[in-house]
């Protein structure tokens, strides 16, 4: 029987100081043009936590506003504030930077995150009110340090500084004297990824009525690598995150594929469950500091706030068929192969043509979840409306296949597509942001199925010029069927009766 999507969670962590100090657009600018106007202007273009909580796409990401509702608001969205919602949502939460930095320390098991004692004490107090941070997590917090100790680590020990509201409040120490794979920079990026993944895991458990002990396996699908000089991407984020989240019965592994990682990981999870290897597999990922403020120059040029100011994270629970939750149909996997080619048409054709196996039309899929980047972020930066471009391409393919008329192209993009809402955090917007809503929409009978598409820019790793992509279909549960044996009970009775009859006939004959 097909495995099912039992639940999903989505989290954001507001990180304005990390935009300035850890986003690669800004760190690169600091290296090549340290006195640039851009660097001077950034601090005046950062949003407050309240603004980030009231930002429509963020409330969509954590599950409070359905994408269909978001689409009703005229763009741009950065000049609008939505009232009535707080930092907690149906599927997750938006965490402020100070709490997130302390969460990073909770996730640090090598005494690398040092926090100034006053900052730590006040934030610890805030975190003690958080519904998901129990005693075992709070006990992971270390003692605070004197401010001058933190400064010394930064000035003399190559530690990466941590700021809150422009003030140095801590640092991440290097984990090795000479190994660049364990440098303070790498450790900070990895601890950020780990912490945002853990927050997604905690929300997955809390929002979906799941016991931590039930989880057998976890697959991390972020885009970072952890390891040392002898095995740079040795891993394993998954198990490290499971440990902090308290998944005592789980092991795990990492799956990578740039932005296609989450879809690859979900197919793997569905296969592991369907094959009976594990009953409950979590696919999850944390966010990426490097991409914070990636398009900041364009945003500031247009007088906008820097909109890439949040880290993203998500978790999806794939479980044995419960007879209710939507199923992952593993018979309809689309994949971009080595021989597919790199043109956008070829890519989309390879991902959507899985429908041919069962004679489905492109219009037989109710919703396509593609690259769900928030257009409010990408349009001012000149990158266009990414989901819409994907829907136009799928629609064009539908025209080519004769599934729709050319005149119905726009209607297709509206009916089968969605407006984007996810932060530009690479793997985070890729296919997976809709899974939470998709599960609910299918359960509500609003749609019968959806295709989740993940695409990855493998060429960025300079190992191949190839692109990548995979897709799968989520569909309404067909009901729990008993496993059909090869021979039915009636047939067995009939065979036994026939055998006895033959035996009796033979006896009589003798």
């Amino acid at each position: 029987m097909n495995s099912v999507i039992r639940g999903a969670s989505y989290i954001l962590a507001f990180a304005p100081d990390m935009v300035i100090h850890n986003g690669t657009t800004q760190t690169t600018e600091r290296t090549v043009n340290p006195n640039s106007e851009y660097l001077k202007q950034i601090k005046d273009h950062l949003r407050t936590f309240e603004q980030v909580v009231k930002y429509l796409p963020n409330q969509t990401y954590i599950g409070n506003i359905h994408p269909d509702e978001l689409a009703k608001y005229e763009q741009p969205w950065n000049d609008k504030e939505v009232e009535g919602f707080g930092r907690f949502g149906k599927y997750g939460e938006i965490m402020p930077q100070d709490e997130f930095i302390v969460l990073m320390q909770m996730c640090d098991v090598f005494d690398l995150v040092k926090l100034e004692k006053n900052f730590l004490e006040s934030t610890k107090e805030k975190l003690s009110q958080h519904p998901l941070f129990d005693e075992s997590l709070m006990n992971r917090i270390s003692e605070g340090e004197e401010a001058q100790v933190v400064k010394k680590y930064v000035d003399e020990e190559h530690a990466e500084p941590l700021y809150n509201n422009g003030e140095l409040i801590g640092c991440v120490k290097r984990a090795h004297d000479i190994d660049i794979n364990l440098s303070a920079h790498v450790m900070l990026e990895n601890l950020v990824s780990k912490a945002s993944n853990v927050l997604a895991l905690l929300n997955l458990i809390a929002k979906n009525n799941v016991n931590k002990e039930e989880i057998d396996y976890i697959i991390d699908c972020c885009e970072e690598a952890c390891g040392d000089m002898n095995q740079r991407g040795g891993g394993n984020f998954a198990k490290a995150c499971a440990e902090v989240a308290g998944f005592v019965n789980a092991t795990g592994s990492d799956t990578r594929g740039f932005c296609a990682g989450p879809t690859h990981a979900l197919i793997e999870a569905a296969a592991l469950v369907k094959a009976g290897v594990y009953k409950n597999v979590v696919v999850s990922a944390g966010g990426c500091t490097a991409k914070l403020g990636m398009n900041g120059k364009d945003h500031i040029k247009k007088g906008l706030p820097i909109l890439e100011d949040v880290l993203g994270g998500f978790a999806v629970l794939v479980s044995e068929n419960d007879g209710i939750s939507p199923e992952i149909n593993l018979d309809l996997i689309g994949r971009h192969t080595v021989g597919t080619g790199s043109s956008p048409q070829a890519v989309i054709t390879s991902l959507v043509s899985s429908l041919d196996k069962v004679g489905m039309k492109i219009t037989d899929v109710d919703k396509y979840s593609v690259e769900m980047q928030n257009p409010d972020v990408t349009k001012p930066a000149g990158a266009g409306d990414v989901p819409l471009a994907n829907y136009k391409m799928i629609g064009a393919l539908a025209v080519k296949r004769g599934d729709i008329e050319k005149k119905d192209l726009q209607e297709f993009t509206e009916k089968h597509g969605m407006i984007g809402w996810a932060p530009t955090q690479g793997h985070i917007p890729s296919g997976v942001p809709y899974i939470g809503f998709c599960r609910q929409d299918i359960l509500d009978g609003k749609i019968k199925n959806a295709m989740i598409v993940g695409k990855g820019s493998l060429f960025l790793g300079r190992m191949t010029n190839l692109f990548d992509g995979v897709s799968f279909i989520v569909e309404a549960n067909k009901g729990k069927e008993e496993e059909k044996s090869a021979v039915s009970e009636d047939k067995v009775k009939e065979l036994i009766a026939q055998a006895l009859k033959n035996f009796a006939s033979n006896l009589l004959a003798e």
Binding site: M294, A381, F459, L460
Partner: protein
């Protein structure tokens, strides 16, 4: 005669637009010499 005939071309493709290899194929047929081609990601 094509505009690109005999010219040297530097290509920067967009991952969500037209990727480098696709532009390469086009400009080669127009007689250009590709001296650099790459695809970048802005999202």
């Amino acid at each position: 005669m094509s505009l690109l005939n005999g010219k040297k071309v530097i290509i920067i493709g967009d991952r969500d637009g037209i990727p480098g290899p696709a532009i390469e194929e086009c400009v080669k047929t127009a007689g250009a010499e590709v001296v650099f081609s790459s695809t970048e990601c802005f999202v």
